[in-house]
């Protein structure tokens, strides 16, 4: 029996949300986490059509995209008065809005939810800024426990080359300039991102991260992500699925039908990785 069938239904970390029936959540929640410029969004863009190819409806979501707080966060980041606690809570508001109004409805409808960052980025940024760890862990404790947290891990040097080659400039917030350490963007980026990676690493065990070496090529990373997702999301082509369901229906109605052997999941995965 494939391992995904044994996965418990979705639940929360510490505190239930008022008005949510967790037993209704049928979909799969996959989290892609990791520091800035590690290549998360590129991977999410590739994973979505791959999942859809297998007949899964996919909701992709990410930080500061909520209808409620997305705009406010962007504006606040453009100003120069965004304090660390305010930033943490603004992101938590944004997350709550997306969780309750996008992610949970999608899971109820049986979607695969692919999220670019989750509470761990909010937690890492807060902890890297010296905020109390227990405070932010409890505050974010209404989050759902995902089926998989895929942590794209890289060293700071890998991130730097991606920033320089890919974007051509350092970003104020990605460099943690609000923390006032380092004499320039480069130094600040190195210190801030090292700290973030350290915090992410410290979250890996307690939050059951599946760590993926993101210093590899984008293609290799993609294959690693696919492999990890295949463990929790059913990866069967729509045609095979139709055959299997037909056989199951026939068996239920008492008719004896010899089911065509569905290929082993492994073969399917290999084919998809091409």
């Amino acid at each position: 029996m494939p391992s995904y069938r044994n996965k418990p239904p979705l639940s929360y970390y510490r505190t239930p949300l008022p008005g949510v029936d967790y037993s209704e959540l049928q979909g799969k929640l996959i989290v892609i986490e990791g520091p800035d410029a590690v290549g998360r969004s590129t991977q999410v863009r590739r994973l979505k059509p791959w999942l859809e190819e297998y007949g899964h409806a996919v909701l992709d979501t990410g930080m500061a995209r909520s209808a409620l707080a997305g705009k406010g966060i962007k504006e606040a980041k453009e100003g120069n008065t965004l304090g660390p606690i305010t930033m943490t809570l603004y992101y938590a508001t944004d997350f709550a809005d997306r969780l309750e109004n996008e992610i949970i409805p999608a899971l109820r409808a049986g979607f695969v939810v692919l999220t670019d960052r989750y509470i761990f980025s909010i937690m890492a940024r807060a902890i890297a800024r010296g905020e109390n760890r227990a405070w932010i862990e409890r505050t974010a404790g209404f989050a759902l426990v995902p089926h998989a947290v895929l942590y794209m891990r890289a060293e700071v040097k890998d991130l730097i080359s991606r920033v320089v080659v890919g974007r051509g400039a350092f970003d104020y917030w990605e460099s943690g300039l609000d923390l006032h350490f380092g004499t320039d963007m480069y130094e600040s980026f190195v210190r801030y991102q090292s700290r973030l990676i350290q915090v992410f690493d410290s979250l890996a065990v307690p939050y059951n991260f599946h760590t993926i070496d993101a210093s590899q090529s984008a293609d290799r990373v993609f294959v690693s992500l696919q492999r990890a997702i295949s463990r929790v999301v059913e990866m069967e082509s729509p045609a095979h699925r139709a055959v299997r369901l037909k056989a199951a229906r026939a068996a239920k109605s008492g008719l004896k039908v010899v089911p065509k052997a569905a290929p082993a999941a492994k073969t399917v995965r290999k084919a998809s990785a091409r």
């Binding site: 239930p16 008022p18 008065t81 304090g83 305010t86 809570l89 309750e100």
Partner: protein
């Protein structure tokens, strides 16, 4: 474990709490004038007034987008911004900061909305413990009598319409305030409120507040708490 962080800054934080119509804002205004005359630098911070968060709250309310959790979080964000950018710097400068509503408002309202009690208490753990927290104790009917009729039309969240207590907005407001009142009452000992009997005359209430302030602050201004006059005097020397 204490709910808030100890305030080790030279300034003083005074909080007034109570349901709508308890008269707390009137009393705070009278108290601040009195403090100013006594030489304190007095500033105000009102619940839900951060310029950084204002637009988001407005949008959420207008479009009725809030859940109990996001409602609680946006108010905590608003509070955090005021604390980080306004209240703490002023307390460092030695001012008396008067806060019209504080985290206690969230403890009462958000719990009534169905948010977990210990979750919302943890949420505000970064807040500073006030030097004085006054609670204006008033029976529901008295408070309602003061506001209903003599004010603008009730708004959706203000009346707790999102709780679905009643389809009639005034009735919903009544039920909502009643439940908030219960939460406040249950908090009195836990939070160490100075209870002011808000059915007494305005003058009697003010007298009581001033007595408590004098007791807490001492009759002589404590060193480090700079009054406006002190500042001016220093500059002219």
């Amino acid at each position: 474990m204490s709910v808030f962080l100890q305030n080790r800054l030279p300034g003083r934080l005074i909080v007034v709490e109570g349901i709508d119509g308890s008269g707390k804002s009137t009393q705070m205004s009278l108290l601040s004038q009195w403090l100013r005359r006594r030489g304190y630098a007095v500033t105000f911070s009102e619940w839900n007034s951060s310029p950084l968060v204002h637009e988001t709250t407005r949008r959420g309310k207008k479009k009725e987008m809030f859940t109990p959790t996001s409602f609680s979080l946006i108010h905590a964000t608003d509070f955090a911004d005021r604390l980080e950018q306004y209240i703490i710097p002023l307390l460092k400068a030695g001012a008396v900061v008067c806060a019209d509503r504080y985290a206690y408002t969230a403890f009462a309202r958000d719990v009534v909305r169905g948010v977990d009690r210990s979750w919302v208490r943890n949420l505000y753990r970064f807040a500073l413990k006030p030097s004085l927290a006054f609670y204006f104790k008033v029976p529901l009917d008295v408070a309602l009598g003061r506001i209903l009729g003599g004010r603008d039309a009730l708004k959706y969240y203000e009346a707790g319409m999102d709780l679905g207590l009643s389809r009639n907005i005034e009735e919903s407001f009544r039920l909502f305030q009643g439940r908030i009142l219960e939460e406040y009452e249950a908090m009195i000992n836990e939070m160490g409120f100075h209870v002011i009997d808000a059915t007494k005359s305005i003058e009697a209430q003010q007298k009581e507040m001033r007595r408590i302030v004098l007791q807490e602050f001492g009759r002589v201004r404590p060193p480090g708490v700079l009054g406006t006059e002190v500042r001016v005097a220093e500059l002219s020397q």
